[in-house]
Symmetry: C2
Subunit: 236 residues, 2 copies
């Protein structure tokens, strides 16, 4: 898929919502359809468009109960897209995630003069800034490749050890956005706010959270203490 | 404008082409219309959509000749958008350009363990990677803010000193994409390939280029020598 197609796909809220649900877990059609506020015909159309553009992949699998095989979907690309739009610049690029390419670099824009006497000096500075931009994009590729792999491991581990999909959905969302309101999560998970709070309290037993004034986030203080504790225990 | 609207705007090739022309110079309607391959009704519709979404601004100004005032357009935003789509992550963010925020940083992902024993260690590493991501996005904001300002200065200076719009369009494009084929430039500027080459040779007198096998790029070697020369002359 070329870069511009992704903008077409992302230019629609229902498609963005579908992608967002798909990053958390394997989804089958009726599950996805229950998560968004449009008709199942519309959902089918959007899924078809995304499959045609190569963003989604579908496969059939037996459900847990007797009955016909269900059609499942997952995201078929792993990319970070960057685009700049200003009165003077317009460009876009897609970075393929996978193996991190540049994990360590020192970026220093201050050494590139911000005032230039002549046209040639300006052009020279522009080229230097562009070469720093290339390094920054490689770092971005690396950090997103690492976060992608790690999120996959977190999802697998959570399902293996604890097995609760709703708790995992809360953890996934909180890790992605930094902090989430109970309201947002209630919308997203199709649960009452009280149910979100109960699930968050269950999650808190495995991953320490701060749940306060309707906002949920990771409790980094307690997380560090517990990681320290785990390591100490491991050394005994 | 919220982030997702930009994806809708960018999801259409004619709109991308219009934006691309607008970053090089002030454009009036019939000029823009001559640059893209759709009807002027379609161009008017796309310009209207982009104006409504706050991406473009229009204003009337007298043309150089006697006659009615012309409607000019320019880009009204200065942002870099980043989005990641993988089976595990989906997020997008718009970075407002302007004053650079973080111009200097050391990024080192290798110090974050890539193998974690327990779930908590994984969550801890994910948070650390996310905080590196935040730094990388700030560096991206800084480099694009600097490049935007510098490109503005280059455009102004070129028009002031040399005054040739077509040469400037070649310089602008080559700076943006690194290297351009004569073919691309011929398409983009609506000129015959031979005319592109003539204009590139004129540009070369002011900004040294390598023009070879139908590809045009900045000659960094000669650029450095000439900047050195300029500075030496300045010191005398």
């Amino acid at each position: 898929m070329t870069e511009p197609d992704i903008f077409y796909i992302l230019g629609n809220k229902v498609r963005r919502d579908l992608l967002s649900h798909l990053t958390c877990t394997e989804c089958y059609f009726s599950f996805l359809s229950s998560k968004v506020s449009v008709s199942s015909t519309a959902v089918a159309k959007h899924l078809k468009i995304m499959e045609r553009e190569g963003i989604l992949r579908s496969y059939e699998r037996e459900g847990p109960f007797i009955g016909p095989a269900r059609k499942y979907y997952d995201i078929a690309i792993a990319k970070t897209y960057v685009t700049t739009v200003t009165p003077n610049l317009f460009w876009y690029r897609g970075l393929e995630l996978g193996e991190p390419m540049l994990e360590k670099a020192r970026i220093d824009l201050t050494r590139i003069p911000s005032e230039n006497e002549g046209l040639l000096g300006m052009v020279g500075s522009f080229l230097e800034l562009t070469s720093e931009l290339d390094k920054i994009l490689q770092l971005l590729q690396a950090v997103e490749s690492r976060r992608d792999r790690l999120m996959k491991e977190i999802k697998e581990r959570y399902l293996e050890e604890i097995g609760d999909m709703t708790q995992l959905a809360i953890l996934h969302y909180v890790l992605l956005v930094g902090e989430a309101t109970v309201d947002e999560l209630s919308d997203r998970l199709n649960l009452k706010e009280r149910e979100v709070l109960v699930k968050a309290q269950e999650l808190d037993r495995f991953v320490p959270l701060i749940i306060k004034d309707g906002v949920i986030k990771i409790d980094e203080e307690r997380l560090k203490q517990r990681i320290g504790g785990e390591n100490d225990a491991g050394e005994d």
